[in-house]
Subunit: 460 residues, 2 copies
């Protein structure tokens, strides 16, 4: 193994200049973890390709020596996706951060995988465009495509899978292929785009991504709606959807979450279950939507409906929401966080959230519940001490309880974070025999099991 290891590193060193390949301990350590509670592990080497051809050559070396590869963006994954268990080559794509082409008339943009969503939006803004998908972290587009990320705007604009029009993918043997085209729809061949989106680096390495983007709406309005009971807040969201109001964002935070936001962001929001809402559209339509929404929410027990008219207040509202996980991590510097991520049909959401709160209280651990409730997707943030075996066990049992509850009601074990290493054990329960088809696809595309092995599908 040692000799083989040295040989593949030597070949990679021949491919890349010395400042773009590293076996430095600090660099290896930086690539050993993500933002999850999963155990770290270091790769043998980290490479920093600049273009597709280099990724292809790296894959040829990996394939020749049968060495696992682990694509890496900024390491913001939440289920251990990028952790190189068993070691191998981490392909850090952060230098591939070029926005290759903006086709504003086609609402399309072509980017390299290392472009972050904030960088993309900064550039798009110059063209009156924006890219809506917003996971909490400032993730890379490659990482977001790999996990099929979504966020607060998915209720209106959809998830990553809905935005990806074409992928350039480097396959296990170094072959470069593409999965789509620039047309807004197609019935030609099997739809490979959607199969590769969410494949978490297990089927190929994305080297270029063509995305759908959107015109910045004419008008944006934001509001907070405060409730005494979390169930009322969830039912209120169901009413908004039922009424056909095209809400752009619809986020629930529980009382515990608001308390932590106030501590961290020095805000003074009422510490009660709260919906953070946003509306996009034309001015006349929005005014009617907002008025109608307010009526529906008050009918469902909303005690306060507060418009945020000032753009600074709107920004503060969403920053508070996006920084919630950090608010907990900073509030409890000695603890770690485990985040759950189930998604259920909207009719099952109120029950699922009430059950999640009861089950959390029973663990005795501190934590919060928040969610993209318009999608039926909610997270719990559970504060644990990873050095305590019982905390880990409690968190695992709690996660399993939530997943089992969701699957029994037609839901999924992960709405947006992906499978990685953490949700692999639930794949059979969720997909049944269909997991055999997934395994078959993996084995066909990666016969040597070198593409992010042991993620989603068991190592073979």
């Amino acid at each position: 193994m040692e000799g083989k290891m040295m040989d593949f590193i030597k070949e990679l060193q021949n491919l890349l200049p010395s400042d773009r390949i590293s076996t430095n301990e600090t660099i290896l350590e930086q690539h050993s973890k993500d933002e999850s509670h999963h155990e770290p592990a270091t790769p043998q080497v980290v490479v920093f390709p600049l273009h597709t051809e280099e990724i292809s050559r790296i894959m040829q070396v990996a394939s020749k020596y049968r060495i696992p590869v682990f694509p890496f963006g900024v390491g913001s994954s939440l289920e251990g996706h990028v952790i190189p268990y068993g070691g191998g080559i981490t392909i850090d794509l952060s230098l591939m951060d070029q926005i290759v082409e903006i086709r504003d008339k086609d609402f399309l943009v072509k980017v390299q995988p290392g472009v972050t969503r904030s960088k993309l939006n900064k550039e798009l803004k110059k063209h009156g465009l924006f890219f809506p998908v917003d996971p909490g972290a400032d993730a890379t587009i490659g990482g977001m495509a790999a996990t099929n990320a979504s966020g607060t705007t998915s209720v209106r604009y959809g998830i990553m899978r809905d935005q990806v029009r074409n992928l350039e993918v480097v396959l296990a043997d170094g072959t470069v292929t593409h999965t789509g085209n620039l047309a807004s729809k197609s019935s030609s061949g099997y739809h490979l785009n959607s199969m590769f989106v969410g494949s978490e680096g297990t089927l190929g390495v994305f080297s270029e991504i063509t995305l759908k983007v959107y015109g910045i709406p004419e008008a944006i309005m934001a509001a907070r709606a405060i409730f005494s009971e979390i169930e009322d807040a969830v039912n209120a969201v169901a009413s908004i959807l039922q009424a056909g109001i095209p809400i752009a964002r619809c986020e629930l935070v529980d009382a515990r979450s608001v308390k932590q936001v106030n501590i961290y962001s020095k805000t003074s929001y009422q510490e009660k279950p709260t919906l953070f809402l946003e509306f996009h559209g034309n001015k006349a339509g929005l005014a009617q939507d907002v008025e109608f929404t307010k009526e529906l929410l008050v009918d469902q027990g909303c005690s306060d409906f507060v418009f945020e008219t000032d753009s600074k207040a709107v920004q503060q509202l969403w920053e508070a929401r996006h920084h919630l996980a950090y608010a907990f991590l900073h509030g409890f510097p000695s603890l770690d966080m485990m985040i759950t991520d189930v998604c259920v049909p909207i009719s099952e959401l109120a029950g699922a959230i009430i059950d999640a709160r009861q089950a959390m209280d029973q663990t005795g651990l501190d934590g919060a519940i928040l969610g993209h409730v318009g999608d039926g997707n909610f997270h719990t943030l559970l504060m644990i001490d990873k050095s305590k075996k019982e905390d880990i066990e409690k968190a695992d049992r709690y996660n399993e309880h939530l997943v089992t509850y969701a699957l029994a009601r037609g839901g999924t074990c992960t709405g947006e974070h992906g499978v990685g290493i953490g949700k692999k054990k639930y794949q059979k329960l969720e997909h049944g025999d269909a997991l055999n088809i997934m395994s078959g696809i993996k084995k066909m595309l990666d016969p040597q099991c070198i593409l992010n092995p042991d993620k989603i599908i068991d190592k073979y």
Copy 2:
């Protein structure tokens, strides 16, 4: 072969009552063709299952004797999808026409594959819901999922692939599996839903389909916009999209089309390039959208912008559009029709349509151009005499010209009709090496090549 054939038919006769299996010449003949210009071919037997378990048993027999199966809905496909070339078992799913469950709070409906879109919409209307995808024909939901159909509303609501939340699929060996769940999003496992949608019966037989449905909008407005030049009409549509107006339907018909509509539907529309438009939303928002649209269109050279306020006039407008193909078929009873179906990025659409008209005029054949222009998708209807070899050759060359033009500009050979037998020859040109991945998927799921063989992927 004769003995084997008799044996498999005998086994099927043991499975099914005599009124649900047929070798009657008339029945075979009815299942020998679709609505395309492709040559018919008869199956050896037609079976009419009532539920999933029967499809599974039929597949077990087919698999045991290695006999091809051809799923069939109402036979409205346009590229020969359902034609049983080489013979075998046609599985007519028209008796599986039950709406199994309507979950109105979740905006979901579960149906058997033989339910037609008009039947579904009739039932959904009672719940204030509708299903938007509307290919010209009153196709079955199973057929629409199999071809990834779309239609006039896709610019707003998306295509079949966007609506399918879960499929129950009977695989080649009779195994019953499912591809999704009831959650509005998921990052769990590889996305099989989208791979099976559009697979045209080549990967499995759909036995149950769970679809997203929509609330009937508060207000609907329709309009016609008349132009002197087709290029101006297309550019006007680009302006509407650029302005972020959430148009619900946006159909172009050329002057030749309007002439035929007037003859067939006894209407008196101006015989010029025309956009048929529809807006969905709340009343205040619509008023602003429509006013803004009118301004944009007039800027782009629209000579008349006619509101259709009366609901009967609106219905007549869309019926005229939907019956356009029939208007030509009825107008030329001795001729056949070949329909093309490319889709290009919207910035390439005006050029593509002008080129298509010039190329059509050069063939000397009569025909019309119409399109779902908001999607960049357009059709040409070409009238041919199938008994004349030169007509067939002209039509084939014309189709190839349009496909080559579209592919060179990032488009696709089929926006919504699917591949079937007609577009198979363009798969390599469109997908390149990715076609190998598609072939691999086909071979994994159908090792004996019995599922609608020779469609999309070459027979093996």
